[in-house]
C-alpha cells in the first residue's frame, strides 16, 4: 500500500480546472489592419483626435523602437514574436458614451460575468471602475463623487484632451520611451488606459479600480496608466486583468507610471489573471509590462502589490526610484506558474535620497512544468545615507518538473546603509501534509492551505475584497497539481 502514490493519482484524476473567465464577446468592433508602421501610428492618433505633440511623441518612440533589440536576458522561452502580425487598435463601434444606459448590453453582460460591479446598484463596495475593453475606455463610474473631491479619474484619451498640461508635464518622465523595447513599443502605439490625479491635501475618497480585458483576436493590448499624487495626498488603485481563451498567444505590453510628490502615497495593487494557456502550454497571454514609480517628493511612499497567476509569459518588474529624502518603496508579490507558465518577475529599488527605505517580499510558486524567476535589484547610491533595504524571496515547488530561480542583484555604494536579503526554496513538506491529513484535511485542501499561508504576508497587503479574490484565484490555479 503506497498512500502517497494513491493521493497523487487522486490528484491527477481531478481534471485540472479550466480557465474560469474564458469566454469572448461578439460585438462589432472597429479595427486597424495588422502591422506596425508610421501610417498605423498616425491612424491611431487620428482616430483618437490627438494633438500633434502626442503624435510626435509616438513617432519618436517608434523611431527608437526600430533601433532597439528585444531583450534576451530573461529566463523565458518563447517563439519569436512577429510584430507585423499584430493588430494595434480595435475598439467596439459605439462610442462617446455618457451613461451606462448607452453601453452595449452585451458588454455589460461581459462585465457581469467578470464580476465587475459596473452597475450603479452594485456599487455598494465603494469602488470606482474604469474599464478598458480592448482598446477604448468604455465608461467610468462614480465620476461625480470623485469630482467633488477634486480627483481626476478618467481614460487616458480623455485626459489628453482635457488635461494636456498635466499629461505633457509627466508623460514619459518615469519611464522614458527609450527605457526598454516594450516601453518604446507601448509609447508608439498605446491605445488607452487610465489617468489619475490626486490634488494637494486630498485623500481619495474611494478605492479606484480598472479592469483590463483582452477580447479581440490578434489584438495586443497596450494600455498606459499615469497616476500623480500631489503633496499630502493618498490613493489606492486596483488593477484586475482577465482575457478570453484563445489558441494563439496574444501580446500585452503596458506601461504604468506613478509619481508621488511631498508626503504623498500611492498604493497600487494588481491581480493579474490573464489566460495562462491550456494544460499543454498552448495559447495564453504574453505579458511584457513596465511599471515604475517615482518617489519624487520627500517622505513620499509607493507600494506595489501584485498577484500574478495568469499569462503564459510574465515579464514584469514594478520598481521604485526613491529620490525624495525619507521616501519609502515597497514591493509585495505572489507569482504562480502552473502547467507551462513562465514568469520572470521582481522589482528594482533605486535609493537616491537620504534615509530611504525599501521592502521586498516575493513569494514564488511553481507547479506542473512552471518556471519562476525572481529577478530583483537593490541599488544604493552614494548620497543615500542611512538607507535601508530588506528583501525576502521565498519559493515553493510542487512536483519535480518545475523550476524556481532567484537572481538578486545588490549594488551598494554607501557604507551607512543596511541591506538584508534572505531567500529560501523548499517543497511542501511531507510532514506538513501528513499533519493536515491526520486532522482530516484532504491533500488538495492541505496544499491550498499551506500555499495560502505561504503567501499570507503578501495577501494581507491587498484591500480586503481583493485579498479574498486572490485566495480564490490561487485555489483555482492550483487545482489538479500534484505533489512529489
Amino acid at each position: 500500500m503506497d498512500k502517497v502514490k494513491r493521493t497523487k493519482k487522486q490528484l491527477t484524476d481531478i481534471s485540472s480546472s479550466e480557465y474560469k473567465y474564458g469566454f469572448k464577446t461578439n460585438i462589432e468592433e472597429e479595427r486597424l489592419p495588422n502591422g506596425l508602421n508610421e501610417d498605423i501610428i498616425k491612424s491611431i492618433s487620428k482616430i483618437k483626435n490627438e494633438p500633434k505633440w502626442l503624435l510626435d511623441f509616438r513617432l519618436k518612440s517608434y523611431e527608437k523602437w526600430k533601433k532597439m533589440k528585444e531583450p534576451n536576458w530573461q529566463n523565458l522561452k518563447y517563439p519569436k514574436i512577429d510584430f507585423n502580425e499584430i493588430c494595434y487598435y480595435s475598439s467596439p463601434k459605439k462610442k462617446k458614451l455618457k451613461s451606462l444606459d448607452e453601453v452595449d448590453p452585451e458588454l455589460l453582460k461581459t462585465y457581469d460575468k467578470l464580476g465587475i460591479p459596473l452597475d450603479e446598484q452594485k456599487m455598494l463596495s465603494n469602488v470606482a471602475v474604469d474599464a478598458v475593453f480592448d482598446s477604448v475606455s468604455i465608461a467610468t463610474t462614480f465620476k461625480d463623487t470623485l469630482k467633488k473631491a477634486g480627483v481626476i479619474f478618467c481614460s487616458f484619451s480623455e485626459a489628453v484632451i482635457k488635461y494636456p498640461d498635466l499629461i505633457k508635464k509627466y508623460l514619459g518622465t518615469v519611464i522614458p520611451s527609450s527605457d526598454n523595447y516594450y516601453a518604446a513599443l507601448n509609447s508608439a502605439v498605446f491605445s488607452d488606459g487610465s489617468f489619475v490625479y490626486i490634488p494637494k491635501n486630498t485623500k481619495c475618497p474611494m478605492e479606484l479600480s480598472t479592469y483590463f480585458r483582452i477580447n479581440a483576436a490578434n489584438t495586443g493590448q497596450f494600455e498606459r496608466t499615469l497616476i500623480i499624487a500631489d503633496d499630502n495626498s493618498y490613493v489606492s488603485y486596483l488593477e484586475g486583468c482577465t482575457a478570453p481563451m484563445r489558441d494563439e498567444n496574444q501580446l500585452h505590453a503596458a506601461i504604468v507610471e506613478l509619481i508621488t510628490l511631498d508626503n504623498a502615497e500611492i498604493k497600487y495593487s494588481t491581480v493579474q489573471n490573464w489566460y495562462p494557456g491550456d494544460k499543454n502550454g498552448k495559447g495564453g497571454i504574453y505579458n511584457f509590462v513596465t511599471k515604475r514609480g517615482h518617489c519624487k517628493g520627500n517622505n513620499s511612499k509607493i507600494s506595489w502589490t501584485q498577484i500574478e497567476t495568469g499569462s503564459s509569459l510574465t515579464w514584469k518588474y514594478p520598481s521604485c526610484v526613491l529620490k525624495g529624502d525619507n521616501s519609502i518603496g515597497e514591493f509585495y508579490s505572489v507569482a504562480l506558474s502552473n502547467n507551462y507558465q513562465q514568469a520572470d518577475t521582481g522589482t528594482k529599488m533605486i535609493h537616491l535620497g537620504k534615509n530611504t527605505k525599501s521592502t521586498i517580499i516575493s513569494k514564488g510558486i511553481s507547479a506542473g512544468h512552471g518556471q519562476q524567476t525572481y529577478r530583483g535589484q537593490v541599488k544604493i547610491m552614494k548620497n543615500a545615507i542611512n538607507s535601508r533595504n530588506f528583501s525576502q524571496c521565498d519559493s515553493i515547488l510542487i512536483g519535480s518538473n518545475c523550476g524556481a530561480h532567484t537572481q538578486p542583484y545588490i549594488n551598494i555604494k554607501n557604507s551607512s546603509s543596511k541591506i538584508e536579503h534572505e531567500a529560501t526554496t523548499s517543497k511542501i513538506g511531507e510532514d506538513q501534509l501528513f499533519y493536515c491529513n491526520q486532522r482530516g484535511i484532504s491533500t488538495e485542501n492541505a496544499i491550498s492551505l499551506i500555499i495560502n499561508g505561504f503567501c499570507k504576508d503578501v495577501f494581507k497587503k491587498l484591500p480586503m475584497e481583493f485579498a479574498i479574490e486572490a485566495q480564490k484565484l490561487m485555489e483555482i490555479s492550483l487545482e489538479g497539481c500534484s505533489v512529489g
Partner: protein, 379 residues
C-alpha cells in the same frame, strides 16, 4: 620529451579559436573591465619556473616538461577536460602556459600535503604569466593544498587549476593571497565524485585587480563542496569572485560562505550561481554573503543566485551588508573594551568564523596573523 606547450598543432588551433571568440559570458564579467584585461600580453614567456613546491611523499608532482610517454597519456586524461572553453583567458592559458604541473595524490592516504609558493622575480609589467596545474586526488585520500601567494611586486598572473576528486577523497584547498599590487585571473574547475568532499578556502588580502572564477561540479551522489571565502580590501582594490556550483546528481550538498570587509575606495563583487539540475533530488544548497563596509567610498555588488529545477531540495541564501554592528560594539564597550579594540575584535570574528574549519591549524593560525595585521591598519 616534448611537453604540451610545444605541441604546435594544439597551439595553432587555440590561437584560431581565441581570435574567433567573440562571445563571453557577460554576467561573469559584469563588474570587471574585460577589455582592459585583454589588452595585456599573454603569449610572452616571462619566467621559466616561478613556482616553488614543497610536499610530502604522498603526492607525486610532475613538471609538464618531464612527462614521459606514459605520464603524458595519463596527463591528457585530465588536461582541459572540465574547464569551460568560452572564456578567453582560459584559452590563452591553454595555448601559452609555461608553469605546468601535474599533482597526483596517492590513494588511501590521509596526510598528503603540498605547499605552493609563487616567486615571480621579474617585474612583468604588461605580460601575464600562465600557470596551469592539474590535481588528481585518488580514491580515499585526504589532502591539504596551500597556495601561499605573498608578493609586493606588480605581478600579473593568469592561472588555471583543474581538480579531480575521486571517490571518498577529501581535500582542503587553500588559496591565500596577499599581493597588493597583483593583477590576477584565476579559473578553477573541480569535478567531485561519489562521497568526496572539497573544502575550498580562499583568502584575499588586498589586490589591485583580482578576478576569480570557480566552477564546481558535484557530479556523483553524495559529493560535497564547502566554499569558504574572505576578502579584505582597501585603497583601490578590486576583487571579483564568480562562483558557479552545479549539482549534477542526487544527494549532493554545497555551502558557500563568503564574507567581505571593504575599506578605502575598494570594490568587491560576490557573484554566486548554484544550479540544481533535474533529477538531483535530496540535494541541499546554501549560500551566504555578508559584507561590512568600513568607508564611505567602498562599494559591494552581491548576486547570490539559485537556479532550482527539482522540488525535493532544500536551498537558502542570504546576503547582508552594513556597518559594524553598533549594538555589539556598545555591548563590548560596556564590558570595558575600548571602541577601537572592540571594532577589531568584531572584524576578526566576522572573518575568522568563515575559515576556522580548516583542518591544518598551523596554516589557520598563520593566516589569522596576516588578517590581524591587516585589521590593525584599519582606523
Amino acid at each position: 620529451m616534448a611537453g604540451l606547450k610545444n605541441n604546435s598543432k594544439l597551439k595553432d588551433d587555440l590561437i584560431d579559436k581565441i581570435n574567433n571568440l567573440t562571445f563571453l559570458d557577460k554576467e561573469q564579467w559584469k563588474y570587471t573591465n574585460f577589455n582592459y584585461l585583454s589588452n595585456f600580453n599573454f603569449d610572452k614567456n616571462i619566467s621559466k619556473n616561478s613556482l616553488s613546491i614543497k610536499k610530502n611523499d604522498s603526492i607525486e608532482v610532475l613538471s609538464i616538461n618531464d612527462l614521459n610517454e606514459d605520464s603524458e597519456k595519463n596527463y591528457l586524461k585530465f588536461f582541459n577536460k572540465i574547464i569551460p572553453q568560452e572564456n578567453k583567458f582560459i584559452l590563452y592559458n591553454t595555448a601559452y602556459f609555461h608553469n605546468g604541473y601535474f599533482f597526483n595524490v596517492n590513494k588511501n592516504i590521509d596526510d598528503a600535503y603540498a605547499l605552493i609558493e609563487s616567486n615571480i622575480t621579474v617585474n612583468s609589467k604588461n605580460n601575464f604569466s600562465n600557470d596551469r596545474i592539474i590535481f588528481n586526488f585518488n580514491k580515499s585520500s585526504k589532502t591539504t593544498i596551500l597556495f601561499n601567494e605573498k608578493n609586493t611586486k606588480q605581478i600579473k598572473n593568469n592561472a588555471v587549476y583543474e581538480l579531480f576528486l575521486d571517490n571518498n577523497s577529501c581535500v582542503d584547498f587553500i588559496i591565500f593571497s596577499n599581493q597588493p599590487s597583483a593583477t590576477k585571473i584565476l579559473n578553477l574547475s573541480a569535478k567531485i565524485n561519489k562521497d568526496a568532499i572539497l573544502n575550498i578556502y580562499t583568502i584575499n588580502i588586498s589586490g589591485e585587480l583580482i578576478k576569480n572564477n570557480y566552477f564546481i561540479n558535484l557530479d556523483k551522489q553524495n559529493s560535497k563542496c564547502n566554499f569558504n571565502g574572505i576578502d579584505l580590501l582597501n585603497k583601490k582594490n578590486h576583487i571579483d569572485n564568480y562562483i558557479e556550483v552545479n549539482h549534477n546528481n542526487k544527494n549532493t550538498f554545497s555551502n558557500i560562505n563568503y564574507n567581505n570587509i571593504l575599506d578605502g575606495y575598494s570594490k568587491g563583487i560576490f557573484y554566486a550561481k548554484t544550479v540544481i539540475n533535474e533529477n538531483c533530488s535530496q540535494s541541499e544548497a546554501l549560500q551566504s554573503n555578508k559584507n561590512m563596509l568600513l568607508s564611505k567610498s567602498s562599494s559591494i555588488h552581491s548576486n547570490p543566485q539559485l537556479i532550482i529545477n527539482n522540488d525535493d531540495v532544500q536551498c537558502a541564501h542570504g546576503s547582508t551588508t552594513g556597518e559594524i554592528d553598533s549594538d555589539a560594539l556598545f555591548y563590548m564597550q560596556s564590558r570595558g573594551i575600548s571602541e577601537n579594540k572592540a571594532k577589531k575584535m568584531l572584524i576578526n570574528s566576522f572573518l575568522f568564523k568563515i575559515i576556522n574549519k580548516m583542518k591544518d591549524k598551523k596554516i589557520l593560525s598563520s593566516i589569522n596573523n596576516e588578517i590581524d595585521s591587516w585589521i590593525n591598519n584599519v582606523d
